[in-house]
């Protein structure tokens, strides 16, 4: 069972520039625990001081908000695309006209 995690540019400074990461995590809490080990900088960015996912981040499974699928209880399916997007996403440090 493998899932694909897709990250916006804003997060790639913590993942060696990678926008896609493969994972075998079974659910969202397991995925976040995995980040603690593999990308601690990313973990710090997406979790608050209590270790909870920040309220300004949305998680999508394929095309659906994970909250419509049961949230933390949702069991990842093989081939799922998991997207992490700030709720008001957009923009990064690069200037236009690159």
């Amino acid at each position: 069972m493998q899932i694909k995690v897709v990250l916006p540019t804003a997060f790639t400074r913590h993942t060696d520039g990678r926008k896609q990461i493969d994972s075998t995590a079974a659910n969202l809490p397991a995925l976040l625990l995995e980040f603690d080990q593999t990308f601690p900088g990313l973990s710090t960015q997406i979790k608050d001081e209590h270790g909870k996912l920040r309220k300004f981040i949305n998680i999508y499974i394929n095309d659906e908000d994970i909250r419509f699928l049961g949230g933390d209880a949702y069991v990842f399916q093989d081939g799922d695309e998991v997207m992490l997007i700030p709720s008001i996403a957009g923009g990064h440090w690069a200037r236009p006209g690159r």
């Binding site: 804003a10 960015q45 949305n58 095309d63 908000d65 997207m83 008001i88 957009g90 923009g91 990064h92």
Partner: protein
């Protein structure tokens, strides 16, 4: 007149970190939305009633408190829409001091979105974007398409596939690329964030969002000025993403700080209006929380159909803090609201305005707003764009022969009368 404000920059709503000016909408550190902050002290004595009165009859009279780059010269006379005393609507719903802020006639595309787009595009040009875009429930699409055409910018616009035909036509006519997405607004918005991440485009409600949202403040400035530089007791505002209601309050607070209006004894209360079929913010307010539970929209008020509102938490928090309320109404009430506003005030609004009107009636009926309060109802869009909502409401009847007797019979039938009104000449 100097139309630029050089003393502004982006700041994080949560952690307060500042980011200068760049196309960026979320704090890179804590991911919270960014907001434009101003050096208001610098505007003291410059942004005055007199200086505003000398400005043009458009939102640009308030340019000193808008995030527009140095040297900016306004092109279109956007905004400065009528604020009308709504006696007849008031009489019907039990309000003795009711006003309608009528953005159904905003220039150039007949919705309040013209305000935000004009500010966003001023910044798009400054940042060097040659293509602009948006995710939209319709009104924004119209405005981006029109104003981009005017400025010679390319436009690419994403909308839910089931958008009202008039809103699609009103986008395509300006030559914009319009892409219909098989999904609801929240799907469209998510795709827009991915596009803005990959393409060097200025998405007005994504990477230009902090600047864009500031344009909404002009509704608040205009209300205060048109009331004779005083603040209303209550404001009723439709909520989709939850931005407008916050920005009107921001405008009021700036005017108080700068001494243009007196701080009222009781702060203005803000009332949010949603359709029951998409009511994540009003549900949160009702439950006394700022935690928004997203919904799958199902309402004829498509321009308010945002199930996961970006500024929802902040809007709910603000409403609860200020002693206001949020209310939602059914699709049936929305249509009645459209008709009521049209029949009493001669203002034809779209479904979102039907929501706002119906919610206003409910707020008075429930005693949440007292009869004699000065209340402003924000009508944000034009009914010509959502005529399908009324399609089955009126019976055109049979055409009659061009004869007076036929006319008289027809008139009696329309009015439900049995006695003839036709009086032969000389009998009266």
């Amino acid at each position: 007149m100097d139309y630029s404000c050089s003393n502004y920059e982006l700041a994080c709503n949560e952690c307060g970190k500042r980011y200068g000016n760049r196309p960026l909408s979320a704090c890179p550190d804590c991911l919270a939305p960014l907001e434009v902050v101003y050096d208001l002290l610098n505007a003291k004595g410059v942004f005055t009633r007199d200086s505003i009165a000398r400005g043009p009859a458009s939102i640009w009279r308030y340019a000193r408190l808008l995030p527009v780059p140095e040297g900016f010269q306004p092109d279109l006379p956007v905004g400065f829409t009528p604020l009308v005393h709504a006696d007849r609507l008031g009489a019907r719903i039990g309000a003795s001091n009711l006003y309608v802020k009528n953005d159904a006639v905003c220039f150039p595309t007949l919705s309040f979105k013209d305000r935000v787009v004009s500010v966003a595009l001023a910044n798009a040009r400054k940042f060097g974007f040659d293509t602009v875009g948006c995710s939209s429930t319709g009104n924004l699409a119209n405005s981006v398409a029109a104003q981009a055409a005017r400025l010679g910018l390319k436009a690419c616009i994403l909308v839910p596939a089931d958008l009202e035909p008039a809103k699609i036509l009103n986008t395509l006519v300006y030559g914009a690329r319009l892409i219909r997405i098989d999904g609801n607004y929240d799907h469209v918005n998510r795709l827009s964030t991915l596009i803005a991440d990959e393409y060097n485009w200025g998405f007005v409600n994504v990477n230009l969002r902090p600047y864009y949202a500031e344009g909404s403040k002009t509704v608040g400035y205009e209300i205060a000025e048109q009331l004779g530089w005083r603040l209303p007791d209550s404001v009723v505002v439709p909520m989709a993403g939850g931005s407008l209601i916050r920005k009107i309050r921001k405008a009021f607070n700036e005017l108080i700080f700068l001494g243009l209006v007196r701080k009222p004894a009781r702060p203005t209360r803000f009332f949010g209006a949603q359709a029951t079929g998409c009511s994540p913010i009003s549900v949160a307010v009702r439950e006394g929380t700022e935690d928004i539970v997203p919904q799958r929209p199902n309402t004829i008020a498509r321009s308010l159909a945002i199930g996961n509102p970006a500024d929802g938490p902040a809007a709910a928090k603000m409403i609860l803090q200020d002693g206001g309320w949020a209310q939602d109404v059914s699709d049936v009430e929305i249509v009645s609201g459209i008709q009521e506003l049209a029949e009493t005030e001669g203002i034809f609004t779209e479904t979102a305005g039907g929501v706002t009107t119906a919610v206003t009636a409910r707020l008075y009926a429930d005693g949440r707003i007292a009869r004699d309060e000065t209340t402003v109802v924000c009508i944000t869009g034009n009914g010509l764009k959502t005529t399908d909502a009324l399609a089955d409401r009126y019976d055109l009847g049979e055409a009659i022969r061009p004869r007076l007797a036929d006319f008289d019979a027809c008139l009696r039938s329309l009015d439900g009368e049995t006695e003839p009104e036709l009086v032969a000449a000389g009998e009266s």
